[in-house]
Structures are given as structure tokens and as C-alpha cells.
Symmetry: C2
Subunit: 514 residues, 2 copies
């Protein structure tokens, strides 16, 4: 199994089909293969040898697709970096991974001087944008034109494909090493349900390509053949326009993007009827948003994928038919065809169904380990199972209900409160567009359940009591927020996750609110 | 990736769902896991250690399913044997694979004394039938009851899962070593199209389970969960009754079985409407039989799978929608999502589209090699591609048209004639139920195109001239049979392939016919 196999096959079977559409630029699979083989030659010319790391710091583009294929074609290992990171965070990852070559697009070029200063191992910066190439960087178009194609180094199976830096929401960033087999097991297993996408469709990339949520659909589409339509980044209007213009059949969006797509005025007029498969994940979705999305896209099958980078990334899938069952709509679904899932206690014993514990996962998709961190690897993979750090429970039919990151659990008055459950109840209030529930220090309760709410456009803020009662009608009263605040927007990571760590840090010393 | 993973998952998610239905016996997934773990304990008690081979010689049964899982659970490697073989052939395979343990059902017990005499390495015979256990054999039910479950040895990835003996149609039998990953890549890749079967259905086993054509669907269904309904062997009435009784959703049949199912009087009244996915393979299907099958099963998607044991076994798939395109119906389809396919000349250079050459295949499903045959392995896998020995051509869209086994090609008057093309034309004649076209020695032409025909029930044999003209109207006249004979039935291998080798051998010295 090798990630470049889909490129070989598509270029052989459908050489004239568009592989990538990016703005006004369309490249066929034959062109894609040719450019990949030339860029790989250039990388080898820059000293990239078998197993060397090559980092990518770029908004979405057709060149991101090419880079993800050219690096293994050259024999290297990709290191896709978070575009929201500071120069210091980028430099940390480059240094940790010992990446000597960095590909950067126009938008991220301003970080390069500080990155260079803080990452002395970095040797070459390749500019993969359309603007002017700054001094000291190499223009990728010049490299592609100046090199003859080389044969695929044909890395495969247990060879590492990428080192993916996690973190942003849970502390120190670690490099997750995923092999070609890890990624392909997850992609094929996801596809094996028949629900996620079908051969020959058109996939929209609006979520960031550096993140494996999008990366998983990128690989699945590349394996099956078809076309990638790539937006530089997410805007609700841009997504709606692209779906209409390119008759998009499949998309991966995180829940906050789905909420914006169905609520934003600029997306309202677009014809979205071509969409057949919408995969969502990276964070739970509220029942209220899912309802609005289902009514906006009645012919589209919704699939929730739950997982994490360490799982390459899919562990469970909630299938379209499951979405019609009220009590399953808050579930993350059942083990994907390639995965086994269990809920265990602190001693790694399986807990009875219905009991909350840690979600652990086993299968051919589980990471090889954390880059250069044998102790953390051994801890995460103890007993042969990946310990996700997520709290959840399983029903009798094997459906998994993710209740929270274990770190996001609130302990108030001795009771465990899972923030996701409170958020879901809160999101059903008509004034609420999105929300985050966190624990804040409280003299009386230890931690207090605190809600941070973004209101829907043009709606006045309801009194805190009204929201509290709204939640208490739906779940236990002790879980209802004791304090509420309103923000214009929530802090969101590059992958679309709400940064609760930031919310918590800013409120750690906040005074008690009524 | 491990073949036993589906058992773990199904027993965890759907413990009370029937795993196997065989005659009046239904066993749930929980029971299946328990029995597998006990049988594995018994096998370990008989000395089966990690990597040891355990052979199975049995008609289809629920115990075949359990054996395929218990052997890797114990740490061993399965050796499924052809049920049509003579004792000498069985003994050859046992000796070649050094299998110390043989599982045998009632029907095959009579071979055991001669097998024992000719395979001195064999230590233990386990009787997996329902009749009396003969002296010197161990009853599997006693072994299951007498052992406590052991943990799964958890063989996986590149560990060999099985040694599959090929041959029967093309000479000396070789053991094909397939790893867990090989088989799962093929199964997941096949499923990734969404056409072959869906989660939670009911699969019928009527083709022999020792053969990987059925084995591939067995694994796919085990991966996705659902139920196996198992018939001891194929009869058209038995298959029709089972589809109606168990609301079968998916089946694998070889073309000769499909022909019998749609033509046999005893299958005519049955309700076959539950069938959604019918995979056929192991040999080409004539357009005429496909037409009759499509009209009998209008709601069923037909998928042709082409491959071979060495490919674990799937290389290409002809999708249901492709069957609606006249010129594609004789194609074997395009490369499956896990495979790359090329047509090459004798020097392994790719030939232009439309030119006949040898079909070669690359991917994570390609066998590890032939058991203890490094030279034949190196020859078959030269350049990193599996050389199938099949002649075929590819159209501009990547559809593969298998024209023949290279060994079955007829050279007559200096022209290459591919028997499959002649058979396809001949099968369209209303009198023809099935047929085989072979080359027989001929003083004038070198080889002569000779047709062996089985007539449809109650139809008189047409004159040879009529069949010759029928063929010559459809394909080039030099390809039309110069001689025709009628048989009651064609010699068929255990896997449902027509044994052309036998037909040729019997006619090698036959006199020239008009």
C-alpha cells in the first residue's frame, strides 16, 4: 500500500480528467503526475533522501496536493504544519522533526524570517505560491520546470508517510508518525461502508489540508479517482459558490463550518443539490445545527467521522441511516470496518455498556508512535490499544457517545459534567449560534460550569437565567451553567476546533459571576 | 490488519446476531468467537505453534468459517485444500506445506487413509463433520468442548494468513502465500467501491469456501459484519431456496453457477428479490448468460471481479453501472481501488491501448510468494509486478478485456485465437447452454479451433455448420470452430472453472473432424 498509488492509477486510467481545480487553474491527472515527478526530482536535488522530512506550511492549494505526493515520490516524509501557528511553533516542529526543507505559500511567507532564525536545522525554503519569491527562497515553479521527472521512490507499507504535529488544544505538540499503511487502512476502511464517497466524484477542500480530517478525504478521493476542488480556506459564500459551480459531490466540513454554511446569508441562494456525501468531524455537532443542515441538504448523506491524528484518523462512523434515529444523532457511530473500539477504566478494563470511560482503539490504522518520544508512545499505546484521552460510553449495539475530552471534563461539587452534553443542550436554544462550556475555578464548587455563547445574528442576549432553565429542562440541573457570557466569536484552531484551553486560561482568575 | 479483527468487532457489537447459518444450525457471533477461541486452544494443544500450517479439506460448513478464524487465532497458517483433489494431490500439498494437522469433514473422510499413507508429515486428523468420527481422528466438537478459550495470537500485517494451492487448470500446484495484509487490502479495496456489499447484510456461500473467490467475500462480510449463510455445495435449487428463505443480500457465484441458477427448472419459482449484490468471477461470463441473469434479477447489481489467488484475489472490478454499457460487458472492469494494472509485452514494456499482452498487477494485495519456491516467485513478481499469465488488452479508459489464459490461446494457421472470444460468440446461440473452445492438433492448421458444447435442455443438436456460421457472423471467420462436439456436461474444477487442460488432453490425439 502506498499513498502515491492513486496518482499512478488515475494518471493511467483518466489522464485527461481534472485532478485539481484551484481558482482559475485546472490540472489533469497526467499533468499532476508529471509535476509531482519533477518536484520530487527537485527535492532530491535539495538533498532529500529516503526518510528525510519535508515540511509544508501553506493554505490550501493545488500545490498542497502535489506536495503531499511529491515528498513520498522523492522518498521523503511530509510534515504538514498548522497555518495558525506562530513562527515559534513552526520553528519548534521543524527542529523537532529535523526538517531541512520547508514549502511555504504566499500567505505564510511573512513567518519565514523568524522561523529561519529559530530553526537552525532548516536549509531550504521552497516558495509554493503565485506571488514574488523572496530572496533566499526557491520558486517551486522554477524547480518543477527545471527538473526532469524521476521514478517514484515507491515508499509503502510501514514506511512513514508523514509526521503530523498535534496540539493547539491540549498542550505540548507531539509529532504523530503515520505510515502509508496506517493512512490507507483508515481511508479504505472508511470507504468500505459505501457511505463516504463513491468512485469518480468531485471533492471539495475547504477545511485546512494540513489537518488529517481533510487529509483523510483527500486520500480517499485520490484512491478512488475523481477531482479535487480546492479553496484556499473556508468562507461560507466561497463553499456555497464552489458547490454550485463545480457540482461538488462530496465534502468534509467541521461542524462550525456546517453551521456557518447553513446560517450565513451569503450562502443562502446557492444550488447545493449536487452534494451527496458530507463528512463531518473533528468536534461534535449539535442536534440543532444538524437539523438545519439536514433541511438545507435533503439529498445529502451525513456521515460523522470520529477519530484523531493518532488514528490516521478514523475510528468510528455514524452512517447516514443512523442520523434518522433520534437517540443515535448524538453518537459518533460504531467502529469503522478497520477498527476495534472499547471503553475502559483507568486500569484498562472494559467498563459495562452505558458507563463513561476512556475510548481506546485498535487496528492497522493506529500510529507507529510519537516522533522521538518512546515513553509517550508506550503510554499512549499501552496494551496494544491507542488511548484517545477522550471520555465516552458505548450502548449495547456498539454506538459510541463521546462525552468530552477527558481534560475538558468539569468537576463541580463532586459531580462529573461533560461539557459537550451541556453545549448540545445550550445549542438548542433559538438565540444560540455556537457555544463552549468550560470549568472555571469557583470557591464553593471547586469548578463552576461556565458557558461562553455566540448569539445568532440580530438576536438579543437572553438573561442567564433563561439559558440555565433551558438547559435544566433537558439535562440534570447541576450540569446547567452557573454563569454565562457572550462573545462575538469563539477562538477556533486551524482545524476548526474550539480552543477551550484559551478560554479556560483567560478565565482562570476571573471573578465569580452571578 | 488482521483477519480475526472482524470476529472481535462483530462479537462485541452484534453478539446475538447470527454469524453462521448452516442447515438447521445457527450460531451467533458471540458463540462463534467462543468456539474459535476454544478450537484455537485445541490446535495449540495439538502442537500448533506460531507460523505452523493447518490444512482444511472440507465442503462448505459453519465449521469452515470457524476453522479459518481459529487457525490464525492459534497462531497458525491455514492451508485450504481443493475438495475435488485426489488423495495423492492432497498428500502432495500437505507434504509441500509441511502441515501437521488436517481438518476433514464427513464427505472427505474416505480420502484420509490414503492421504495418511502418502503424507508422512501429517500427525493429527481433526474431524469437523457431524457423522461418526473414525478411529485415529479427533472429533472437533469434543476438542471445542474440552478446551477453555485462549487469547487471540493476533497474527497480523505481513504475517502469512494462508498457503493456497493453485493449479488444477494449469499444471503443477504451487502454494501461494498470502499475508493478513494481502487479504485485507483486497477485501477493503473491493468494498471501497461501495458496490460489492454493504454493512450488515446476509451473504450466501454456495461456491466452495476453499477457493479465494468465495474466501474474498467471506472476509469482506466478516469485516463489515452481518451473517454468513452457508450451503455445503452448489445446487441451483438449493441456492434459490436459500435466497428466498434467508433474504440473502449478497452472493458470489461463478458464471457456470449463474447459468444454472437462471436456467434450472427447480430454481424458477423462487423469490430472489432480496439479492442486491452478485459478484461473479473465476472465469468470464457470456453476454447471453449475463442477459438472462439480469432479467431474472432486475434489482441486483452485478459486479465482475477479475483476479487470481496470487492477488488475494481481486485485481479489477466491473461495476454495476458498467454492465449497462454494451461494449463494456465483456470487460473485466478497471483496476480496483487497491490495485494498478498494466498490459505488457514479453519484455515487460507497456503495450499501446488496444494491443493484447500479458496482464500484470501491482499493489499491497500481491502475494508474498510461492511457498518454498524462490525462483518461481522471483519470475512471477519480476519488476515488482505480478505476472498473471493472462492475455488481455486495455481500452483508453483503463477497462481490461481478458482474452484468455496465455496457455489457452489457440494458434491456428499462424493467427492467434482467444478461446474466450469464440466461447462468447458461441454462447449467444439459442441451443447452447455452455461451451468450451480449445485448440486441438491439426495437420493442416497446426492447431484447430474446436468447440465442446453442452446443449440447453430439450434442444436438438444443431449441425456444426450452423454454429460455425453463427460465430462467423459475430467475429472473424478464422476464429469460428472448425469442429464441434456435444457433451452432457463440461469437466469443472472445484472452483467452478472449466478444466480445459482435461478437454485438451483427451483430444490431443483425436482424429480430424469435419
Amino acid at each position: 500500500m502506498y499513498v502515491t498509488q492513486g496518482l499512478h492509477r488515475a494518471a493511467h486510467e483518466t489522464p485527461d480528467l481534472p485532478a485539481t481545480v484551484f481558482g482559475d487553474r485546472t490540472r489533469t491527472w497526467a499533468q499532476s503526475l508529471d509535476r509531482v515527478a519533477r518536484l520530487a526530482a527537485a527535492l532530491q536535488g535539495l538533498g532529500v533522501a529516503s526518510g528525510d522530512r519535508v515540511a509544508i506550511l501553506s493554505l490550501n492549494s493545488d500545490r498542497y496536493h502535489e506536495a503531499l505526493l511529491a515528498v513520498p515520490w522523492a522518498g521523503g516524509i511530509v510534515v504538514p504544519l498548522n497555518v495558525r501557528w506562530s513562527a515559534a511553533e513552526v520553528a519548534y516542529a521543524l527542529t523537532d522533526a529535523d526538517a531541512r526543507v520547508l514549502l511555504v505559500d504566499d500567505a505564510l511567507l511573512p513567518l519565514v524570517p523568524r522561523v529561519r532564525a529559530e530553526a537552525p536545522t532548516l536549509r531550504h525554503v521552497v516558495h509554493v505560491g503565485d506571488g514574488p519569491t523572496p530572496e533566499g527562497a526557491l520558486p517551486s515553479e522554477g524547480l518543477v520546470e527545471g527538473h526532469d521527472p524521476v521514478p517514484d521512490a515507491h515508499r509503502r507499507g510501514d514506511d512513514p508517510f508523514g509526521v503530523y504535529y498535534t496540539g493547539g488544544t491540549t498542550g505540548a505538540s507531539k509529532g504523530v508518525v503515520l505510515s502509508h499503511a496506517n493512512l490507507l487502512v483508515s481511508a479504505l476502511g472508511m470507504l468500505a461502508t459505501g457511505d463516504v464517497m463513491r468512485p469518480g466524484g468531485t471533492l471539495l477542500h475547504a477545511a485546512p489540508m494540513f489537518h488529517l480530517a481533510d487529509g483523510a478525504t483527500w486520500l480517499a478521493r485520490t484512491v478512488l479517482g475523481g477531482t479535487h476542488v480546492i479553496l484556499p480556506s473556508f468562507t461560507p459564500g466561497g463553499v456555497a459558490d464552489a458547490i454550485e459551480r463545480y457540482r461538488i459531490t462530496d465534502a468534509l466540513l467541521v461542524p462550525t463550518m456546517i453551521q456557518m454554511l447553513v446560517d450565513a446569508p451569503e450562502a443562502r441562494g446557492a444550488d447545493l443539490t449536487s452534494l451527496r456525501h458530507l463528512v463531518y468531524g473533528a468536534s461534535p455537532i449539535s442536534a440543532a445545527v444538524l437539523d438545519r443542515a439536514t433541511s438545507r441538504l435533503p439529498d445529502c448523506g451525513f456521515v460523522q467521522a470520529y477519530g484523531m491524528t493518532e488514528l490516521a484518523p478514523v475510528a468510528t462512523l455514524l452512517r447516514p441511516a443512523d442520523h434518522g434515529v433520534e437517540q443515535l444523532r448524538r453518537s459518533a457511530g460504531r467502529a469503522a470496518p478497520h477498527a476495534e473500539v472499547r471503553i475502559v477504566d483507568a486500569d484498562d478494563r472494559e467498563v459495562p455498556r452505558g458507563t463513561v470511560g476512556e475510548i481506546v482503539v485498535r487496528g492497522g490504522h493506529v500510529m507507529q508512535g510519537y516522533w522521538n518520544r518512546p515513553e509517550e508512545t508506550a503510554a499512549a499505546l499501552r496494551g496494544g490499544w491507542m488511548h484517545t484521552g477522550d471520555a465516552g460510553w458505548m450502548d449495547d449495539a456498539g454506538y459510541v457517545f463521546v462525552v468530552d475530552r477527558i481534560k475538558d471534563m468539569i468537576i463541580t461539587g463532586g459531580e462529573n459534567v461533560y461539557s459537550a452534553e451541556v453545549e448540545n443542550a445550550l445549542a438548542a436554544h433559538p438565540a444560540v449560534a455556537s457555544c463552549a462550556v468550560i470549568g472555571v475555578p469557583d470557591d464553593r464548587w471547586g469548578e463552576r460550569v461556565h458557558a461562553v455563547v455566540v448569539l445568532r445574528d440580530g438576536v438579543a442576549a437572553p438573561p442567564a437565567d433563561e439559558l440555565r432553565e433551558h438547559v435544566a429542562e433537558r439535562i440534570a440541573r447541576y450540569k446547567a451553567p452557573r454563569s454565562v457570557e457572550y462573545l462575538e466569536a469563539l477562538p477556533i484552531s486551524g482545524a476548526g476546533k474550539i480552543l477551550k484551553r484559551e478560554l479556560r486560561a483567560a478565565r482562570a482568575a476571573a471573578p465569580t459571576m452571578a
